[in-house]
């Protein structure tokens, strides 16, 4: 038995994964195949974390399903390299003037990372806030889904790429059915080790294997 927030977390991952179209990667999404287009700009990724839950107490909730206001954190990451005309820069016969022009025309990785993040946020926002996804494909189960906040970090030159991370806050509410948890008993192995030459044969172990 899982709780609704786990179902909603997985529904979010599935929804974002279905909408990737090769433009980013959703961490945890069970993809059906891999193709060249899915590797395009493969350094962009989206992760979904259950972050916070509130359970307002009411007369009904004390003996019925429990209302759960839940928040999920979406972590968006992009990484970019410098983009330049390498056909000129790697050409041994290029003239200094051609090299100068190619170097000057190169695009800074920080700028590219920032633009790439804007695009990724657009993709995520338009996917989640699409009216067709209002119930996250979980009919009658999810209410008031909303992307409440987005915050972009600072471009961070790390290694040979510039990384940029951003966070978005997704909120919704659902009713949790409290079915109880019976737990699972651990197995107990009661073994006696019979050693040759051990006349006493009292060498035994009791292993508790939860």
């Amino acid at each position: 038995m899982v709780m609704e927030f786990e179902t909603i977390r997985d529904a979010l991952i599935t929804m974002l994964g279905n909408a990737e179209a090769g433009q980013y990667r959703t961490i945890g999404y069970q993809r059906q195949g891999d193709s060249a287009v899915e590797n395009l700009d493969f350094l962009r990724s989206v992760r979904v974390f259950y972050r916070e839950g509130e359970f307002p107490k009411s007369g009904a909730s004390t003996h019925d399903d429990v209302l759960h206001h839940m928040s999920f954190q979406l972590e968006l990451t992009v990484a970019k390299a410098v983009e330049a005309d390498l056909t000129v820069i790697d050409n041994p016969s290029a003239t200094p003037a051609q090299l100068t022009a190619a170097i000057a025309a190169s695009s800074m990785a920080e700028y590219l990372a920032d633009r790439s993040m804007d695009e990724l946020w657009r993709l995520v926002f338009l996917t989640i806030m699409d009216a067709r996804n209002i119930d996250l494909d979980l009919p009658d189960n999810v209410g008031t889904r909303w992307l409440a906040r987005f915050q972009k970090g600072e471009p961070d030159p790390r290694g040979q790429y510039v990384y940029l991370t951003a966070f978005a806050l997704f909120t919704c509410q659902a009713y949790e059915q409290v079915s109880g948890e019976t737990g699972t008993a651990g197995g107990i192995f009661d073994n006696v080790i019979d050693l040759d030459g051990d006349d006493v044969e009292k060498t035994g172990v009791l292993v508790d294997n939860p």
Binding site: A84, P96, S106, Q160, T165
Partner: protein, 131 residues
């Protein structure tokens, strides 16, 4: 008799340009290519090249293996010293082999100017073909 700093600088011929050396090519913002040492125009420009490292993402705490090429050169071997803020192209071998094909990086991050003892350290950014 040389002073200690001069001694350290001359030792760079061993520590940076000795047995661990790898060839490096620099292209300045004005398109001038340097692939020979200013100290010896018949010798290749060489230096120390380190490739990758394990780092921690400060935002998430996740560990990432990143390629982080760092090139350390002897300043006196350069005909022009890169300055922070300038766009330079740096080409280094794809593998730690003297004869390996070279790949292209940009110098976009601030460099470490070890001018006091005569070296310069360059942190490289990968370059890819623009669309």
């Amino acid at each position: 008799m040389v002073n200690l700093r001069e001694q350290v600088e001359s030792d760079l011929a061993i520590t940076l340009e000795g047995d661990f050396k790898l060839p490096v090519i620099l292209i300045s913002p004005d398109g001038e290519t340097q692939d020979k040492s200013a100290n010896d125009p018949t010798a290749d420009l060489v230096g120390h090249v380190l490739y990758d490292t394990l780092i921690q993402n400060p935002d998430t705490g996740a560990e990432m293996v990143v390629h982080k090429p760092v090139v350390t050169l002897r300043r006196s071997s350069l005909s022009r010293i890169p300055q922070s803020g300038e766009k330079w192209v740096v080409k280094i071998p794809t593998t730690p082999s003297y004869s390996a094909a070279k790949e292209t990086f940009f110098l976009e991050r601030p460099l470490e100017d070890g001018g006091a003892i005569g070296f310069i350290r360059l942190y490289l950014m990968r370059a890819i073909q623009e669309p």
